[in-house]
Amino acid sequence: MKMITAIIQPDRLDAVREALMNAEISRITVSRVTGHGRQENIELYRGQKITPNLVPKIRIEIAVNDDFVEPAIDAILAAAKHGDGVIGDGKIFVTPMDECIRIRTAERGGSAI
């Protein structure tokens, strides 16, 4: 089992969700984060262009069985990109996961995902 954490641009959330659905991955957890990378996200403030230090991003967490890791990554890669890819499109992190438990039933392991 793996935990996939994707940091994407907020405007791609709907597209990514749709792509994951198509890859039969429907369970995800989403949160609002801000990120600092190479992207510059200009905002306007009384006639001045300011570059915020931290840019709003969306973080998606997806716990998957090993077979689904690549499909999930592919789905995200396809849907999260702006055109041919622009700076700030984000990252995907894959980390190992030891266990997954469904609270409702207390069942464990791959079937609980």
Partner: protein
Amino acid sequence: MAIHNRTLALVLLGAAALPISAHAQEPVVDTGITAWMLTSTALVLLMVPGLAMFYGGLVRTKNVLGTMMHSFAAMAIVGVLWMVCGYALCFGPSVCPWTGWSWDYFFLRGIDQSITEGGIPEYVFAMFQGKFAIITPALIAGAFAERVRFRGYCLFIALWSLLVYNPLCHIIWGGGWLTGKAIDFAGGTVIHISAGVAGLVAALYLGARRGYPKTAMHPNNLVMTMMGAGLLWVGWFGFNAGSSVASGLKTAQALTMTQIAAAGGALCWMVIESLHLKKATALGMVSGILAGLVAITPAAGDVLPMGALLLGFVASVVCYLAIQMKNRLGYDDSLDVFGIHGVAGIVGAIGLVFFLRPGAGTGAFGSQMGHQVEGVLISMGYSAVATILLLVLVEKTLGLRMSEESEMAGMDHSLHGETGYGLINPN
């Protein structure tokens, strides 16, 4: 009736605008009426931020500023247009049945000292009416919320104000061919029906928001929507009671009916939801308030309390059904401009005939009903046709509908380069 006051005011304003003459009948200022009309002007202005809050709270987080800007832009653009030529077009002497004009009113040049026959400086009347001109196009914005470009919107409301609002206002209030026939105390026809229909047409022409209706579009801030509704209710007292252009019995009647219809609309919507959904919602409460307020707008000066209560009830029922219908039909009048303003405006304009105070109106039920229906149909027809022409014009020139990418990124970021709630992002 306001229609009479307004016409009379108009007729006599011409005279008052002349250089000061010495004859005995010279109108003098009534400080009390002036005080109330000044207050009403402030109250109607309060409706603009109120509307911005009401609408702003209902859209998605990424569009909150863009949506509020729609109301504020109307203040800026129509605010200037009105003093340039809007007042002249609406309340100048009729140069044709559809429009008025007076060079004295151009840039409000010639009314600096004039006092209306009703005892208020003409400026106050002009400013009070100007607030109506501001709020009407701002109302439309709810129908195509979350998907129009700012520039296109600005051009659209400027043209709409000039070519739709001003003529309608002249026809029904300013001395045009329906003045004195159809009862429209404070703008059910001129304002709410015309804006509602324009909204419907615009929603149909521009198409739905991306993802609608599949994706749920969450209100970002119902709390602010409730605040906005509160301000709208308060401001509506100026809107309706101010439309008496007086500070007396008629004013009191209008204020009372406004209060009753709003409470009635709210109560009724609560009951409907409790029966239909088993829960009364906050959005339902404020929708009911609005339905009641809109319905009483044309009627406020001419119905009795029981009538106001029933108009409030009926408005909520019919608006509720209209919105259910919209959900079936599937068009995206995003914030229900037609469903509330258009529909409740029609309910009020037609329904008032059943509840008229003895002596109000032009006499016979049938003839009054005829006038009302005529007024409603003209407003609907004219607004619909003119709006569609303007929409096409704006879409083909500056462009009105946002691109899909900027729609997904949200208006705040893509059109205004800002974020509504910095507070949600750690920084």
